[in-house]
């Protein structure tokens, strides 16, 4: 019954039924010697969407993921330490002045990728961000029309049945969210009170957990363990939305299958993927390859796929693979409330303020959203240790105020910078693959943004009645590393996700984002993958793919 995540489950013509404790659904399978239409690498926010969309368009699809195929009802414990199994915990070498913390912060290793443990915040980009350079004067323009993204956001929000408010205060006029908003927990009410005291807008946060029954998903019961995996299936993740769709449409999913290298022929085209599964290296032939391993594994795979036709690594003719890696700054203020807040109840971020994403009267580029918080105990305790150096009885006494704490934390836009990047190190992992080496440093604009946010949130938290306020710094999410561009000199892939220097290779994950925006990236990655899948299907139908 207990899975340690080491058991291959998608095989013998069946895959786990994620809505059951031990059931199965039928799965079509493809022979390795059979050249499938598309091999998709990664089944998270990008790859999961692409696999489902391409399979539904009638293409033969095999989707690979290094992680395990979990059934949430039976496999996800209400326990932080156990649920570390959802993260990518293989060593990644992290350096630079502001070295990024990897692992739980920004990675997933499971069918469904990091959406299995994401915070479910579903905010759209501000339309101008798709032309950040030409309209706002920073970063890069996306080779993408925001109105096309808007249609894709509509599709994704419906696919996830996002629960949100009737009217959302920021951005262009939009339709209703598919499901009604959730009742606000006490933690969210602190943000609301502070915002109202300051006279700035706030909103119930649109989130990806259902507020009413949906198919086999029951409504959210506010158990509060969203960030370590939802054990009731109320959360709408890739694992319990797009993956079942992909399987039903005839895609094969290979779990615990680590792709180490994409093979290319003498004409430079991709011919298939080398992957490690069940103790051995194997090869799947494919007419096309879609990479969706996110901002570390995608560059790592491409750089490790050099060949005579791609001597610097696949799709790296211009040396751009791995560059302009971005995070979100994730700074926060925390304080003690007289009320009992009990922030462990409900999704962690039920209220949001996007004021500084839409107000341009500020001394820095980019924007930030901030949200109410509800960290689980070890998450909160370790953030105090790492930021404040608190330990001993002082830590125990501060942690005893857990039920009286409230916090506000940003998702802050970080400028794309060439020196922030992913490379291959000399060291190799257990499979013989080079470890990724990550270099990161916050720039001057990034510091101005987080300073501004900390000042603003401290004022708001005080207005809400918080005392003994302290601050923490950090980062979350990953974007960039294989950005979309307008030309081969400007990006790794074009606006349709296709590599400039390898015509049957696409990238469809967060690594293609030219800028990061000031909102959680998952739904933008999903919308962009929806868009890329649509362009792929069109190109294939026209005989151009």
């Amino acid at each position: 019954m207990i899975s340690q995540g080491s058991e291959i489950r998608a095989k013998d013509g069946r895959a786990p039924d994620v809505f059951s404790r031990d059931g199965w659904v039928a799965m079509r399978q493809y022979r390795e010697a059979e050249e499938v239409d598309v091999a998709v690498i990664g089944t998270g926010a990008g790859g999961g969407v692409v696999a489902a969309k391409l399979a539904e368009a009638g293409l033969s699809v095999v989707a690979f993921d290094a992680g395990a195929f979990y059934r949430p009802l039976a496999d996800f414990a209400s326990d932080e330490r156990e649920q570390d199994k959802l993260y990518w915990t293989d060593d990644r070498i992290s350096g630079g002045d502001d070295a990024i913390e990897m692992g739980s912060n920004n990675s997933g290793r499971a069918i469904g990728g990091s959406t299995v443990h994401f915070q479910m915040v579903a905010l759209r980009f501000r339309p101008e961000w798709f032309q950040a350079r030409s309209r706002l004067g920073y970063g890069r323009d996306w080779p993408v029309d925001w109105r096309e993204m808007w249609r894709c956001y509509d599709e994704v929000e419906d696919a996830l049945k996002i629960a949100g408010p009737v009217t959302y205060p920021w951005g262009p006029k939009r339709g209703r969210y598919p499901y009604r908003q959730h009742e606000l927990n006490a933690s969210a009410q602190v943000l609301a009170r502070g915002a109202e005291a300051m006279g700035v807008d706030w909103s119930p946060c649109p989130i990806s957990t259902v507020s009413a029954p949906r198919g086999k998903s029951p409504p959210c019961v506010y158990r509060g363990f969203c960030k370590i995996g939802c054990s009731t299936n109320a959360k709408q993740s890739i694992l319990n939305t797009y993956i079942p769709r992909a399987l039903a449409a005839g895609a094969e999913v290979r779990d615990l299958a680590m792709v180490g290298r994409i093979e290319t022929g003498s004409d430079g085209r991709a011919t298939g993927v080398h992957y490690h599964r069940d103790g051995e290296w194997r090869f799947q032939k494919a007419r096309r390859v879609v990479v969706a391993g996110y901002s570390i594994e995608t560059p790592r795979l491409l750089l490790n796929s050099s060949s005579p036709s791609h001597p610097q690594g696949l799709a790296n003719a211009e040396g751009l693979v791995g560059t302009e890696l971005m995070v979100h700054s994730n700074h926060a203020v925390w304080g003690v409330m007289e009320d009992e807040i009990r922030w462990y109840k409900g999704p962690p971020s039920m209220a949001v303020c996007e004021h500084w994403n839409y107000d341009d009267d500020k001394d820095f580029h980019g924007g930030y959203a901030f949200m109410s918080q509800g960290p689980l105990p070890t998450d909160f305790a370790t953030s105090m240790v790492k930021n404040l150096g608190v330990f001993g009885m002082e830590l125990r006494r501060r942690m005893a105020l857990y039920n009286h704490m409230a916090g506000l934390k940003i998702v802050g836009e970080v400028m794309p910078t060439p020196a922030n990047r992913v490379e291959l190190s000399e060291e190799t992992d257990a499979l013989g693959l080079p470890l990724p080496r990550i270099t990161f440093r916050f720039g001057e604009n990034d510091r101005k943004l987080s300073d501004h946010a900390l000042r603003f949130m401290r004022t708001m938290h005080e207005a809400a009645g918080a005392r003994d306020i302290f601050e923490t710094a950090g980062s979350a999410h990953l974007m960039g590393g294989c950005r979309m561009g307008f030309s081969a000199a400007d990006g790794v892939v074009d606006g349709a996700g296709r590599a400039f220097s390898c015509p049957n290779l696409w990238i469809a994950d967060g690594s293609v984002m030219p800028t990061g925006g000031g909102v959680n990236p998952s739904i933008t990655i999903m919308a962009n993958a929806t868009r890329i899948a649509g362009h792929m299907i069109g190109a294939i139908a026209r005989g151009e793919g």
Binding site: S78, R396, M399
Partner: protein, 206 residues
């Protein structure tokens, strides 16, 4: 030393073990947590340092829940966090070198092993390390603060707050599946949640 917090004196999260707040996998996982394995990774010398370090970072005058053994178990499995800072060695080596440097620092500053120092001397030593004020050559190129916060203290604190007694101590609801919560607003409490003692309820003092 100040006294341990007692805001929820009548609450024991384990009382809910057979209630709808706990599911099978959580019962299984937490039962395992209450049964520590045998030591496999650390030798006797480093084990003494680790025990004393755990007692300093998470002092437990009121009880004695094992912490060090879970760190030993994690390292025996070569469990990692996904982050290897470029100025730290791999996890197993980081722990060995970090504990050895701490021990060397204690002997250099006090002429005695770390585990022989009084609690306040141990705390002062750790605070000095956190300020990067170290003298022992064993530190070599190790970054003291990062070693202390990100490796040693981080994992010790994680283990402490993974124990049900720690959840009870802070009034955390603990496992909650399939039953979650109904009353979400401020000062609202479901019957299966911890009740705070009247004495501390309006006080910021733990």
């Amino acid at each position: 030393m100040t006294s341990p917090p007692r805001r929820y004196p009548d609450y024991d999260v384990l009382d809910k073990r057979d209630s709808p707040s706990w599911d099978d996998i959580t019962r299984h996982v937490v039962a395992g947590r209450l049964n520590p394995p045998e030591r496999q990774f650390f030798d006797d010398a480093l084990w003494d340092v680790l025990i004393a370090l755990c007692d300093t970072i998470m002092p437990q005058p009121d009880r004695d829940r094992p912490i060090a053994i879970w760190i030993d178990a994690a390292l025996a499995q070569n469990r990692t966090t996904g982050t290897r800072y470029d100025n730290l060695p791999p996890m197993r080596e980081a722990w060995k070198r970090g504990l050895a440097a701490l021990e060397a620092e204690a002997r250099l500053c006090h002429g005695r092993p770390f585990h022989d120092l009084a609690q306040d001397a141990r705390e002062a030593l750790l605070k000095a390390i956190d300020r990067e004020e170290v003298a022992a050559p064993e530190w070599n190129d190790l970054p003291p603060r990062r070693m202390f916060r990100e490796v040693l203290a981080n994992e010790i604190v994680r283990v402490y707050y993974s124990h049900p007694d720690a959840w009870s101590e802070i009034g955390f609801g603990g496992p909650a599946s399939p039953r979650g919560y109904v009353r979400l607003g401020p000062n609202r409490r479901d019957p299966w949640e911890a009740e705070e003692s009247a004495a501390t309820r309006r006080s910021a003092e733990p």
